[in-house]
């Protein structure tokens, strides 16, 4: 016996079931990894049962073999499959183990024989089962050889499929189910045989009956995970571990929401709901066998075993209620049925649903009113490629008015106790007010809340909603027991570390001194303005950068940005004057007003600015003003890119831009007045963090410009997002650079202009205020400061989130939860809600961060509290 081997296990040692998928068993290094993991579980004092899938690609190869009519080709396919296993054996430097040899022989015989004797389906199930039979036999040999004596177990000896009503030969053989309950006899039988076992996922045996039975059956989709669960239940294991290529389940699909957080703890019902509404990491079927025996399931990343993973177990009540995940399912079709006939009519719905059954359509969500029932259908082949929906509508039209609404997407929030969280969702729900919401559904099990909306809004909406859920405190990412790191931090380019902020690190004492003179005051840090400007100047594809001065028109800031070589974008004659007074006369100006008067244009034309028009009226009625001029036209690219922002500036609901259907008319008027349209401009919204957005805008503008001829440049606007929440990823400038280079390469003949505003100045400014008093009201605590929405209206106007810090007590622990409010007589005068801050004293200096953009410029004299001073600091 190996002297390092752990002491033998007692007969009642706990079981751990470990499941490994196809990529995990396909190479020698992966098997070495498995060996380490299994040995560590054995060292915990547990018996280990390993459940494996077939080597990657083998199941598909076996399916193909089954579809092959020619015996020679079947034999060749079986030979190729065998070779894959010989190759891996050679890598492992192992001789052919007898168990594997027997499987290969059997496969060769089945391939040669064909389906005739066993019957098509039974033969096919038997052939496909060989993927797992072979991989497990190979694994047993490898583990035993590497010092971990491992028993090979035929899953068909342990898992008997259940005989279910409505089964046909196909479902009986190819998508079987097992009723797995703890089986002490099996437990004892295996315990007597050894300590480490390996068996197959995906396969079971047919129940024996009068007609015989006992044939090999398959478990259908998600089969290997489900096998692991069955074994977990049979052995009443201490836990089941699903080893895969991600660390677990996330709060959203990471492909759609890179900021999605790892879910570290879920109960069975929540996990099942998340799996059913979109998450692919677990098949929803694999949780129910574990629920009754209360066996926990753990999802782990094979490549990163140190990560916590997701633990799924019985419901626990010691956490604050929280939304756990948000998901979207696309391709949903709604059928809306309207009739007064259904009102209090016995059997109306039964008749209606009978039609759905008759046409083979499965109903998912249901919403109903007294005279309307709307149901959703998932995207099945039957729905998409047959006349089922036409036939259904034809039948339904006889009893009600029917409308087929598609393509839709179902956005689902999952979390236990959803109804108790509704009050926290108001800002999230407000987002739906701009959308067509076709149906809302909430189940009595109180686990989910689903909205059905138009499919084309989802890609942009989902990341935004995820962010709003966190901001609203509905998805409690502050609870580190429930929520782990973001997907981006684990697998992406890494989470942006908390940006070193100038006010926290370098200039704190200086700020305290400035505040000691007077508050409230805005402080602007010029080195930060320059740093931001230089970051954007690195975008090689951009030919001209304009600072959108409406964000902050302080002369020192204008001068600093001019010194970096920027041009300037103004929206009013007043801004033109302020900029002209501050910057050198050779800095290019762009005048981009909206609903400007004739007089405004006269003043704009008298300046050196390039003029942007964004409506038909000026060129149609005041065309002579522009005669001989070169102008820019701002267009509204319409739906498809809008929808995602509260501050969106595209789409019919927005007052900006010329609608595309008026483009030809505009060009005719321009031509009639000798006006040359030299540039095209679109700006779709603010706070955008997805670099692809600007590529799409350029692409769309370029496809329009090609039809116009005179266009020399495309102005894709600004809207570069500045994240406000801690841990939120900042705009990836390298990704933006790449996107812009790509689109520029496709249309090299157009210059690319941008006009960032907030991006340059937001972080450079802070608002300093002083604590006046605190107030307790019930469980709420208010922290009062000496200015509010009169100085900074963004929180009240946009629900904007600004970081708030007690600069006097930056190093003290944040123990209290405060509503930070100003002195203005408005209940909306709240600078920040639910902020965790140190216990304050009257006179403490409170800093409101990211106040450099849309702060002072939007301030007002409301309540006559006087002007808020501005102080500029430099190195």
């Amino acid at each position: 016996m190996n002297p390092n081997a752990p002491a033998p296990l007692p007969a009642d040692a706990p079981w751990i079931v470990m499941k490994f998928g196809g990529t995990s068993v396909a190479t020698l290094p992966r098997w070495q990894n498995i060996r380490e993991l299994v040995a560590s579980r054995r060292a915990e004092g547990a018996r280990v049962l390993v459940v494996v899938s077939a080597l990657t690609g083998i199941t598909d190869a076996l399916k193909q073999l089954c579809g092959e009519g020619d015996q020679g080709k079947r034999k060749a396919a079986a030979g190729a499959i065998a070779q894959r296993h010989y190759d891996l054996l050679a890598h492992m430097q192992l001789p052919l183990p007898a168990t594997l040899g027997a499987r290969l022989d059997e496969l060769a015989a089945l391939a040669a024989e064909g389906p005739a004797r066993l019957g098509e389906l039974a033969w096919s199930a038997r052939v496909q089962a060989h993927g797992e039979l072979m991989s497990s036999a190979l694994g047993a040999a490898f583990l035993s050889e590497s010092g971990l004596p491992t028993q090979w177990v035929d899953a068909r000896d342990c898992l008997a499929a259940a005989a279910l009503p409505n089964q046909n030969e196909r479902t009986r053989l190819l998508s079987a189910m097992v009723e797995a309950r703890p089986d002490p006899a099996l437990n004892a039988r295996l315990a007597a045989q050894g300590e480490v076992f390996i068996t197959q996922g995906f396969i079971a045996r047919e129940p024996t009956s009068d007609q015989g039975g006992g044939r090999t059956v398959l478990l259908g989709r998600g089969g290997s995970d489900t096998s692991a669960s069955y074994f977990g239940a049979l052995l009443k294991a201490a836990r089941v571990e699903i080893w895969t290529d991600v660390a677990g389940m996330f709060t959203a699909n990471p492909r759609q929401v890179p900021g999605a957080r790892l879910l570290q703890k879920l109960d069975y019902e929540e996990a099942q709901e998340i799996a059913s509404t979109g998450a692919k990491v677990l098949h929803p079927r694999c949780l129910s066998p574990l629920r009754e025996p209360r066996v926990p399931l753990l999802v782990k990343d094979t490549n990163r075993p140190e990560l916590e993973g997701t633990v799924i177990g019985p419901e626990v009540r010691d956490h604050a209620p929280s939304v756990k995940a948000i998901s979207a399912r696309k391709g949903i079709t709604l059928v809306s049925m309207e009739s007064v006939g259904m009102w209090q009519q016995v059997g109306f719905l039964a008749d209606v649903f009978a039609h759905f059954k008759q046409h083979g359509l499965s109903v998912d969500l249901i919403g109903s009113a007294e005279t309307n029932v709307t149901v959703s259908l998932d995207p099945t082949e039957n729905l998409l490629d047959s006349d089922a929906i036409a036939a259904l509508a034809g039948d339904l039209a006889k009893v009600c008015r029917v409308k087929v609404i598609a393509p839709c997407a179902a956005i689902t929030l999952v979390g236990r106790g959803m109804r108790s969280m509704l009050h926290t969702l108001s800002s999230v729900l407000a987002e739906f007010d701009q959308l067509r919401v076709h149906l809302i559904s909430q189940s009595s099990n109180n686990l989910n809340l689903t909205f059905v909306v138009d499919e084309d809004v989802v890609d942009e909406l989902l990341p935004h909603l995820h962010e709003l859920l966190i901001a609203a405190g509905a998805l409690r990412t502050d609870d580190s027991v429930l929520f782990g790191p973001s997907w981006q931090a684990l697998y992406g380019s890494g989470e942006a570390l908390a940006q070193p902020s100038w006010w926290r690190d370098g200039e704190r004492q200086r700020l305290l001194a400035i505040a000691a003179e007077a508050t409230p005051r805005y402080i602007y840090h010029l080195p930060t303005v320059r740093a931001q400007a230089r970051e954007l100047k690195a975008l090689a594809a951009v030919d001209r950068l304009h600072y959108a001065v409406k964000a902050n028109t302080h002369p020192a800031i204008l001068r600093a940005i001019a010194a970096e070589g920027f041009a300037f974008e103004c929206v009013s004659p007043g801004e033109l004057e302020a900029v002209s007074a501050a910057v050198p006369a050779n800095a290019p100006l762009l005048f981009t007003p909206n609903f400007a008067s004739r007089e405004d244009f006269v003043r704009g034309l008298a300046s050196r600015a390039t003029i942007t028009l964004d409506a038909l009226h000026p060129i149609e009625h005041w065309g002579e003003l522009f005669r001989g001029r070169e102008i820019v036209l701002r267009v509204d690219l319409g739906r498809g890119l809008g929808h995602h922002e509260k501050v969106r500036t595209g789409g019919s609901g927005s007052k900006f831009g010329l609608p595309l259907e008026q483009l030809d008319a505009f060009l005719r008027h321009a031509d009639a007045h000798g006006v040359t349209v030299r540039g095209l401009h679109a700006h779709l919204g603010s706070g955008v963090l997805d670099a692809r957005h600007w590529g799409e805008v350029f692409n769309q503008l370029a496809s329009l410009a090609e039809r116009i001829g005179s266009i020399a440049f495309l102005n894709i606007g600004g809207g570069l997002g500045v994240p406000s929440h801690p841990g939120e990823a900042k705009l990836d400038i390298a990704a933006l650079d790449k996107v812009l280079r790509e689109v520029k390469a496709a249309y090299p003949h157009y210059q690319l202009w941008m006009e960032p505003g907030r991006y340059l100045v937001a972080d450079a400014g802070v608002l300093l205020a002083r604590v006046t008093q605190t107030k307790g009201k019930g469980s709420w605590r208010y922290l009062g400061v000496d200015t509010g929405m009169n100085s900074l209206i963004r929180p009240a106007l946009y629900d904007a989130w600004h970081e708030i810090a007690n600069l006097t007590r930056l190093d003290e622990p944040a123990t209290g939860l405060f509503q930070v409010v100003g002195p203005i007589c408005e209940s909306g005068d709240v600078l920040g809600s639910d902020r965790r801050l140190p216990e304050p004293q009257e006179g403490d200096v409170i800093l409101i961060a990211q106040a450099g953009a849309y702060g002072k410029v939007m301030s007002s004299p409301y309540n006559l509290r006087g002007e808020t001073e501005e102080v500029v600091i430099d190195v």
Partner: protein, 460 residues
Amino acid sequence: MTTIHNPRLTQVFRFLHARYADGVAELAYAFDDGEAMVERIRFPHAPALPRERQAAFDAALKLLHLIAGVSYYKAGVPPKIEVADGSLDDATADLLDALYLHGLAEFAYRNGLDLRGRIAFPRHTPSPLGGEGRGEGATPPQAPSLGLPKRTLVPIGGGKDSLVAVEAIKSIGGDATAVWVGNSALIAACAERTGLPTLNIQRELAPALFELNQRGAWNGHIPVTAVNSAILAVAAILYGHDSIAFANERSASAATLEYDGQQVNHQWSKGYAFEQLLGDWLHTHVAADLDYCSLLRPYSELAITRAFAKLAPYFDAFSSCNRNFKLLGPKPADRWCGQCPKCHFVFLALAPFLPKPRLLAIFGRNLLDDEAQAAGFDALLEYQDHKPFECVGEGAEARAAMYALSQRPEWQEDALVERFRSEILPQLDAAQLALEPWLEPSAEHRVPARLQAALKAIGA
């Protein structure tokens, strides 16, 4: 040599020369005594030209030079046209006069120009010898048969029509090459999916044209199908194909509108008149066995969309949207803008033949349940408006498709279908709205005998 400051004030448009070497055709033009504008057309992996095809090649290249000039001519539309290497025979001059007049009719209408009487390609003056001894009498010379290989060039456009043509030829086991001109990721993706050998010819417009545009050149629609046809005629001789099968349908021959007594047809060079002119010219001037035809000519748009509705493998690859996106994303909105007449028409014409959820998955949205699109669909139906300047079917065809949908329970509650039922339908004669007559082919076509089985397959 001078710089052209205002192209609209030029006096002469000159065809300078056309050369070919090593797979590159060079076509040169000029206004007045301005600098030469040189267009290059690149034929990839061009084989050496067999000697017996040299004369045919030269004739095709000359025609390409003359036809491709339309892109440059239209920048100034000067009163005089000169051809450096001599005047043209009547057949050639007739073809070009017609092409420039009708192919630029929409351009002229949009720019408020009248081209009638302005376009006159130089012709041979009748010789005092009456053509004696020169073979240029009243009957033009008949070009010889060259024994071209029996295979077909099928231009791919990324839209449904050319894919229907491709599948028809594939269905009869015909030998074909999928060919396209220019850079388009969309077309490349569609061509790839046909599984046919592909040929991507590059056309580089003269950079000087771009400069003229910046200096206020006239701009607008040109008969691009004519240019592509001439490029393919050169390619057919170069690579060896006996036929060029376009996918221009019946309604392409219908005028978009009549203006000041002139018919304006957005797609004149896709119409039957041009097909006949060019087909005959190729037979007489290039090769007796080079056929130029449209495989879809006898069919209506609706007959074609019905055929396309069976070609599911193309559903997530094709687009007819005229926003011509150069970069493709995975979303339907990256291929269909949903706002242009082409999007409107293809949506409407496919709707009667596809399950509704499948159609909506192709477009990513339901254009007929969007009230903002009402004006666009009205234009297709020729309700309160003329037919839009796009390659779309006839108004009656659109009305037939809309009528069919208005009778379908799964469509009739959608905003624009409902509007059609309540507002437009009462003003129409339902007897004129049947879909079925549109599915019948007409007799008019020039499809050669070798490809007639493919023609029939489309209507099956």
